[in-house]
Structure formats: C-alpha cells, structure tokens
C-alpha cells in the first residue's frame, strides 16, 4: 500500500475515533516506514517486483 494513502486513511480514522493526538505520531511513523522500505530495497536488490515472479494462481496460498 502506498504510504501517503495509508497515512491519509490512518489520520482520518484516528480523528474519527477522537484520537487527534495521534496525527504527529502517525506522520513520524510514515517517515519511518518510508525508511524501512528503502532499507529493504537496498538490502535485497534482487527482490522480484511483486507479480513478476509469483507461482501460478492457487499455488501460493497457505
């Protein structure tokens, strides 16, 4: 899921629940998630792009 879309949805939900104080924490978390994803990318440059190397439908379910 795109981080900006996630952040928008998360802030909206938090405010709907009366937890407006979560906004700065969620914004910090979004920056951290961006860094996490970048770290994963640099750690595994050979990671296949999702959808390009999946087994046939039905074989990757638990």
């Amino acid at each position: 899921m795109d981080i900006n879309a996630w952040l928008t949805a998360a802030i909206a939900d938090a405010e709907r629940r009366g937890l407006g104080d979560l906004r700065p924490l969620l914004e910090t978390l979004a920056r951290s998630t961006t860094a996490l994803r970048e770290a994963e990318g640099s750690a595994r440059p050979d990671t296949p792009t999702p959808g390009t190397n999946l087994p046939p439908t039905g074989e990757h379910q638990e």
């Binding site: 978390l29 770290a39 750690a43």
Partner: protein
C-alpha cells in the same frame, strides 16, 4: 547481629550469611528500612514486608540445619512489577486492572530455589513501554541524585532500589534497553542475556519477539550470581585473557553527550594501554535499526493490548495509550519487512563479532534526562528522549546478542556514564568474563582522557 551499612554487594554478604555472621532477618529489616526511608523515590509498587520476614526466618532455619542453597540464600531481591509473584497483583505500573497470579513466574521460581528472598515489586514505565519511568500509575520513579531527573526505564524502580540499598539484586525486563538504560542512568550493572536464554513465562509481554528478562545488581560478580540462578547454570568465572574488542564506530555515531563521549574514549584508551586490541568494526545496515525496531515493537505491543484497549482505554497513561493505538495502524507487509531486516541485522552483528571477543559502545548517549521531558539536546542536536535513549541498545534486542551495561565513570557534573559490552549469541558466560576484566580495568576511571591516547 547487625547488618553494617557498608555491605552493598551479594559477594560481600554471601560468605557472612553462610558463616552465620549476618542474618537474613537483619538484612531484610535493613532493606525495609531503606525502602521506607526513600519512599519518595517511588522505587517500589508493592513491598512484601511480612512475607520477606517469613522467608528470612525460613532461610535461617534451613542454614541452621545444614542446608545451604548457595550465594543467593537469604539475600533480599526485588522483581519488576511486570513479573508474576504468586498472591501479589501484577500491576505493570498501570491503572488498567492488574492480573492476580496464583503461580510465580518461572524466573521467580528459580530465584526462590536458589534461596533468594523476594522483598517487593519495583515500579516501572507503564507496561515497560517507555525509557523514563515517568508514565506510571504509581508516580514517576525519581533519580536519587536529583529527584527532578529520570532514573531511566523501563526498569527504573529496580535500578533505584539497588542504588539505594533497598535490595541486593533485582530482576528487570528489556525489550529495547529497559534493563541497560536504567542501569546506565543510575550507575549499576544490568545484563540482557541472549534472546531466549531465560524464560519469560509469567511475565507480562510487550513484544514477544524482542522481550528479554535479566538480572541487575551493583557489580558484575553479583549479576553473574543472579544469572546463574536464573539460568540454572553452574558456569564459573574465567580470566578472559587477551581480548579483541570491536567498536562499531558508524553505529555509535556523532550524537553523544560530550561527557559520555569523553568517558567512552577514556575506557577505550585504558583498555588499549592494558594490552587489549580495540579495533573499529562495521555493522552493515545498522542505520535502519530504529525503523526496524519500531515496526516490530509497535504492532506486537498493540496486539498484546488490543482487548484491554477496548475495555480500559482510560486506564492507560496518555502517552502509552497513543503508542499502543499507533501500532494498530501499522501494515502487515511492513511488519514482515521489519522481520526480514531483523534477520539481516542479526547476521551483520554476527559478522562484526566474527573477529572479536566483544563489541564496545556507550550504553546511553545522554546522562539522566529531566522527568517528563519529550526532547533532549544531544551535543547540539535536538532529539526525542525515547529515540535518544534507545539508540544504542535496541539493536541487540532484535539480534538477540547478549549485552551488559557497566559503570564507566561519570560526566564532569557527576552523572553516571555506562559502557555497553556485547557478546556472541549463546556466549553470555564469556561476555561476563570479558565484562569482569573490563570492569576491573576501568573502575574508578573518572579523569580526563590521556592526551594522544584515545582512539
């Protein structure tokens, strides 16, 4: 028999107890007196005075009949109030309804089998979800040197109890540094063993992936005595011989309080002058440590508290509640990413240790922060207090390597500074051997760095 006030360590009192020159009852009374005298520090949530007195009498009867259990027999020990003691509420430092265990945590059972007396349950940062022990339903834990300062956390009460002579050993938990951080702030010794080495059964979890339990005491010898009882091992201390000590320079980084940096350089210089090799090492990918940590601890803590948050949200401290709520928003895919990166960090620390006996780094980049502060100045950089305090400890919770915090002098204005020593996974006994040798070399080193000798 009286208990002289200058007896501060298990190593000092154990032979006196065994010889009958010091009674467990007197020791318990002395500790209870210290707890009462310093009650304003909020080190304890529950004091088990009557039970401790009864346990002391039992210990005396056992020893009188020739049954000596070992160096913890008759020794008053405290446990963090996140750890079950049968018949006593486990509050976790929260106003959320406590649990009421009918059995001791596994670690308490082992300490009792070794003859330890459980004198009480110490205060903590609520649910161990913080580094300053100022979010507790039982009031903040105050630093004995200055009550406006934090004693560190989350096992802050344990550190204060040891520093003030309220007990001779303590049990803490460590998910991102919660044993090592208060040990550093208060100038005592705290050991986070290898992940999984000590059982967490009967302990309120924070993060099942990262939680550790371990001993705290005034010296490494005392920590070893507690660890042996808690692990059920009978290893003996050995001279480590010549050591190769790796310093992860890039990970330690520039953001250190000047007093902390000076103490670290002083220790490094002292170890070199003693003939040990102190070499730079790298930890590949360590710059993502806080991000990986956050994406594991937040969802796991949120999961642990999901039901209670629904029913008792108002029972949590506001800050702790917000952190728990935040974890509920984190995506599963990012949790999985963090778990993959955790494996990579584990291999990176293994690699850094491949040519070394131990890693050396400061435990904490700053001295004791002011209570309730949200940010702190670290050598000219403004940082969130939690992030600053976790910066050098949380990596080893994720990788599972054993790590110990030991006193390393003080800042120019007298605040304790700590050295962190990290060993190979599964080699906690070897870590203790190395740490004891280092403790012997750096103890009392409080002067300036010798010119030209640092590095």
């Amino acid at each position: 028999m009286s208990a002289p006030a200058d007896l501060r360590t298990i190593a000092q009192i154990a032979p006196l107890i065994r010889a009958g020159d010091l009674s467990p009852t007197d020791l318990v009374e002395r500790c209870l007196g210290r707890i009462e005298h310093s009650a304003s520090l909020n080190a304890f949530i529950t004091v088990l005075a009557d039970r401790a007195r009864a346990e002391a009498r039992t210990a005396e009867r056992e020893m009188a009949s020739g049954h000596y259990r070992g160096p913890l027999h008759g020794v008053p020990v405290s446990v963090k109030d996140l750890i079950d003691v049968a018949g006593t509420p486990t509050t976790s430092g929260s106003a959320v309804p406590a649990r009421h265990p009918t059995a001791d945590a596994a670690i308490v059972t082992r300490l009792r089998a070794a003859g330890a007396i459980i004198i009480g349950k110490t205060n903590l940062h609520e649910f161990a979800f913080g580094t300053t022990s100022d979010e507790s339903a039982f009031g903040p834990v105050h630093h004995p040197k200055d009550p406006s300062r934090s004693a560190g956390g989350s096992s802050g009460g344990a550190a204060v109890a040891l520093l003030e002579g309220m007990c001779f050993g303590s049990v803490g938990t460590d998910t991102g540094g919660s044993i090592r951080i208060p040990s550093a702030v208060c100038g005592i010794v705290g050991l986070k063993p290898t992940l999984g080495e000590l059982p967490c059964a009967g302990i309120v979890p924070l993060s099942t992936t990262l939680d550790h339990v371990g001993p705290m005491a005034r010296t490494i010898a005392d920590v070893r005595a507690l660890f042996r009882a808690m692990a059920g091992t009978d290893d003996v201390a050995r001279e480590p011989g010549h050591m190769v000590l790796g310093v992860p320079e890039a990970y330690v980084g520039e953001r250190l309080d000047p007093g902390v940096r000076a103490a670290f350089e002083r220790a490094r210089s002292t170890l070199r002058l003693a003939g040990h090799d102190v070499v730079p090492v790298g930890i590949d990918g360590a710059d993502c440590t806080p991000d990986v940590y956050l994406h594991i601890v937040l969802p796991e803590a949120s999961h642990m508290h999901a039901n209670t948050l629904v029913r008792h949200a108002d029972g949590y401290s506001p800050g702790v509640r917000l952190r728990l709520e935040m974890g509920g928003y984190l995506l599963a895919e990012d949790y999985v990413r963090a778990m993959h990166l955790r494996d990579r960090l584990t291999r990176a620390v293994d690699a850094a240790l491949a040519g070394c006996d131990c890693l050396l780094l400061p435990t904490l980049p700053i001295p004791a922060p002011v209570l309730n502060a949200t940010s702190v100045d670290v050598d000219g950089h403004r940082m969130p207090v939690r992030a600053a305090m976790l910066r050098l400890t949380q990596l080893f919770n994720m990788t599972g390597h054993p790590a110990i915090a030991i006193p390393n002098g003080s800042t120019p204005d007298g605040w304790p500074v700590s050295l962190q020593i990290v060993g190979r996974r599964g080699a906690t006994a070897r870590l203790l051997d190395c740490a004891a040798a280092i403790e012997g070399l750096i103890a009392g080193q409080t002067g300036p760095v010798p010119v030209g000798k640092s590095g």
